[in-house]
Amino acid sequence: MGVMICIFVVGMGYWAAHLAGVHWPCDPTRPDPPSQLLPPSVQHPLGTDDLGRDTFSRILLGAHVSLLIGFVAVGISIVIGVIIGSISGYFGGWVDTIIMRFVDMMMCIPTFFLILTVAAMVRPSIWYVAVVIGLTGWMGASRLVRAEFLTLRETDYVQAARAIGAAAPRIIFRHILPNALPPVFVSAVLGVSGAILAEASLSYLGFGVQPPDPSWGNIIADGRQYILDAWWLIVFPGAAIFVTTLAFYVTGEGLRVALDPKETKQI
């Protein structure tokens, strides 16, 4: 039941994001100086910022940006993680040793500062932010896939596939990978919330999505100077991040339960 609500929240978020494309209720990027820093009212349900832009519209457009970054970043990291993890787990031996030490090395790098460095070097845009977050976040997925492969490659049906003369790529992608995917799906859904948080942090520090494009992170960043006068600039985008992240976590957990045959609980 809880999972259903969360899927609904996530779905609403994305639907709202699409609505934002038609600039509703107000243009989220056009300044309107006379109505700056207005508290929540009927006309501006979540108030306005220092340039008079409607916070509700900006959060909706920001949802589009944040979710897009979340999905793209996770998509990239899952693809890389699955390929690297599959090769490592299937072939084992020295291939596995080299790849896993490389993964260990990548994990030792403080990811956030790496993202900051890369973001500082390239021209910040939605796509760069997504790609950088994706390129630095695949290690978890690769370890997960490798662990699945280590057990699955010993199963009888993989041996049977070898015995009918299937080649390595066929065994990896056709016979083992579909069986290894359920935990990867779960980690992907959980990863979306991680990517949204990373984007919010980056944008807050000014290295993420650049004005006038709104993202939840940079709405908070802009609002922090007015924190004592205009609480709505911090609280509402913060709540949006919180609710979305939580929704993805619960969805991921529900997915784990749903995909785990040993779990008998009904969702």
Partner: protein, 341 residues
């Protein structure tokens, strides 16, 4: 005297472990004649399955390696083939079915699509034609409503059904040799009989040779034309099934038969072979069976020298110093095509 389909000659497969080298298969030879069933019998860990995997070159390397020997399929040495050629042999010429039907089918694909895959790989038949062939195979192995079963997932079928699907998959590419690695061990007795009947029937229909690996002498009696008895990585007795069951020569084989109940015999306790299977890392010196052997345990010859396999009667090999006719018997290799049919 027909040329054998498969001749395994002096095959040795070793595993390198941290504790030392395990000689899992240590110089075994046998032949499988066309259209016949050769049974490899032995206890767990004696090297039967490793022999089967070595023939298909499916021994995990490392730690395993095939040290020496030849595996001749119609005179062509499989151990010399390239990886690509070997894949053509697997499934195409030699197919294999496994012990555990519950886990030998991939749970995410339907039974039919797994047969179709084998057909795609080896016969290049695709689409509707491949599907038709798969349904036909399912019908041949005695699955009711084959078209309906085609789309079912392995978990929807019983163990016996799954083993039938495995057999259908193995035979879909018309192999010459079927390696059956304990095909009935995981099934209950009535289903065992059905699967054995099926294998026998398919053998008659398609002139198939079967290499049957089992520890069950009842299965051997039911199926085999020729039998090789394995003990501690070696063949200790090799002959046709009739003569083996009539008069086992090697003390180990005799022990195996004595440990089975016989119909109509009044006996309260069955005889057991004393002791345990030796640890493959520390095989005893001399004959590997001598510490457990009722006749050889105190004989100096048995304790110091290992008896090689020798032809004690025409077409009948044994490896035991005390076996009648062993002294002076020619030490021929069973794979030298001299085996009588």
């Amino acid at each position: 005297m027909r040329a054998p389909l498969l001749a395994v000659r002096n095959l040795r497969t070793y595993f390198d472990t941290e504790a030392g080298t395990v000689k899992a298969v240590d110089g075994i030879s046998f032949t499988v004649a066309p259209g016949q069933t050769f049974a490899l019998v032995g206890e767990s860990g004696c090297g039967k399955s490793v022999t089967a995997y070595s023939i298909l070159r499916l021994v995990p390397t490392p730690p395993g390696r095939i040290v020496s020997g030849q595996v001749l399929l119609e005179g062509r040495d499989l151990l010399e083939l390239s990886a690509e050629q070997m894949r053509q042999v697997r499934g195409g010429r030699i197919a294999m079915i496994f012990q555990e039907p519950m886990t030998s089918l991939n749970p995410v694909y339907t039974c039919g699509s797994q047969i179709v895959e084998a057909v795609n790989l080896h016969r290049g038949i695709k689409g509707r034609q491949a599907r038709g062939l798969a349904v036909e195979m399912l019908a041949r192995v005695g699955i009711p409503d084959p078209a309906g079963r085609f789309g079912e997932y392995p978990h929807q079928l019983s163990g016996g059904m799954r083993q039938r699907v495995m057999v259908a998959m193995a035979l879909s590419c018309d192999p010459q040799l079927l390696i059956a690695d304990e095909p009935t061990t995981a099934l209950d007795v009535t289903i065992q009989a059905q699967i054995l009947d099926l294998l026998r029937q398919l053998r008659e229909e398609s002139r198939l040779s079967i290499l049957l690996i089992t520890h069950d002498l009842a299965v051997v009696a039911e199926m085999a034309d020729a039998v090789g008895v394995m003990y501690a990585s070696k063949i200790v007795e090799l002959t046709d099934a009739g003569r083996l069951f009539a008069e086992p020569l090697h003390p180990y084989t005799q022990g195996l038969f004595h440990s089975l109940p016989r119909l109509g015999e009044k006996k309260h306790r069955l005889d057991a072979i004393g002791g345990n299977v030796p640890d493959p890392l520390t095989f005893p010196a001399g004959c590997k069976f001598h510490p457990r052997c009722p006749t050889g345990c105190n004989l100096p010859r048995c304790q110091t020298r290992e008896p090689p396999l020798a032809e004690v009667q025409t077409g009948r090999w044994a490896a035991c110093w005390e076996c009648p006719g062993y002294d002076g018997a020619p030490q021929t290799d069973p794979s030298d095509q001299r085996q009588s049919d």
